[in-house]
Symmetry: C2
Subunit: 216 residues, 2 copies
């Protein structure tokens, strides 16, 4: 049975790979599993049928047989456990890969998303200019710590893992910013992740949705 | 071999159970595993020896044999996988329990921590009063969705799981606030979690560290 995921019918990122279905598509590509996509509109996402799959009314969701999941961390972990390619077989190495998934989502992403959300919601407010350096500093602190740990390594802990996949999708949100460019090893790490054939396939697949909506 | 975790020598929460070692202590208690605690000062947390265990210079960490982990999500998952009590045996139910761990850490916690951090860092700034309703609204939105999903159930998905453990520790941060009290089923859910014998033992153990530091 081919798993089915949901994605934005009209992604606000215009096909730049920032919507969270990108993580799930990339995970499927890394382990070589086919998947199907059901596109949902913003209105549909808030309806009871979608909320039954995702209580917070977001995308992506994952359905396979009788199982329905939300939260990209849980979906990527499920995919990583289904086939080799994203989690080491050794239990200790596996725990460390999962640790980087949580670090991406709970330690590195929140200050990046907070800064991004303020950029949308508060950009015209009188305090935004004064708050921006404070928010930048929080992001920079996390990135500096991450940069120090990565050092000259190719990936965060040995072979590429689901932890790197999640961390790269978080760093993608600030690609090209002075915040990320200030840590050249992290910018290079992100570039290595984006160069992976599985990433390219996932990126093109989500971009095709945007291009089709544009052309249609 | 008894696992060793780290915790604050002087927790800023004054033994209220808000420091993140509480999650790990509680998980150990739920599965019935002994553990040892090494207390670290704020200065020690930023030193290379501690950063080798935790790249972001925080607590808790987890050491067992040759394995060292940071991130409470990964540590609690490791403990939950080591003994029965926090994860269902059925693979689909297990994935759903893990989904609630990620939901707690990546969907519900960030707006709560953002509001809390602003309360510390920006309370005296001229814009704080105007930003507070906006931050409250973000928290309320998440809580309302969570409340709708929980409904009249005792726990989030069947038996108590690691997902409930993480969600309860997140809700604990706003215990007694009007934000939480506005969702009576969530307030009752938190009270049920706090009433668990394993929670009580973990709470008393972390509180004893504070009381000893006070008395000493």
């Amino acid at each position: 049975m081919t798993p089915v995921i949901t994605a934005f019918a009209a992604s606000p990122d215009k096909g730049r790979g920032l919507a969270r279905d990108m993580r799930v598509r990339w995970a499927f590509e890394e382990v070589g599993r086919p998947y199907e996509v059901r596109l949902v509109s913003f209105a549909e996402m808030k309806q009871p049928a979608h909320r039954a799959l995702h209580p917070f009314g977001q995308i992506p969701t994952f359905e396979e047989g009788g199982l329905a999941l939300f939260e990209t961390g849980a979906i990527v972990l499920r995919i990583a456990e289904s086939r080799p390619g994203l989690l080491p077989a050794d239990p200790d190495q596996r725990s460390r890969a999962i640790q980087w998934m949580f670090a991406a989502l709970n330690t590195v992403e929140p200050p990046i998303v907070e800064r991004e959300a303020a950029g949308y919601a508060e950009r015209d407010r009188p305090w935004h200019a004064e708050r921006l350096p404070m928010m930048d500093e929080r992001v920079t602190k996390r990135l500096a710590d991450l940069s120090a740990r990565l050092g000259d390594a190719e990936w965060l802990d040995g072979e590429f893992s689901a932890g790197d996949l999640m961390m790269a999708t978080v760093l993608l949100r600030i690609k090209g910013s002075t915040l990320l460019e200030a840590q050249p090893n992290l910018a290079a790490y992100l570039a290595r992740a984006e160069a992976r054939p599985a990433y390219r396939r996932a990126f093109e697949a989500q971009r095709a949705v945007f291009l089709k909506a544009q052309g249609g």
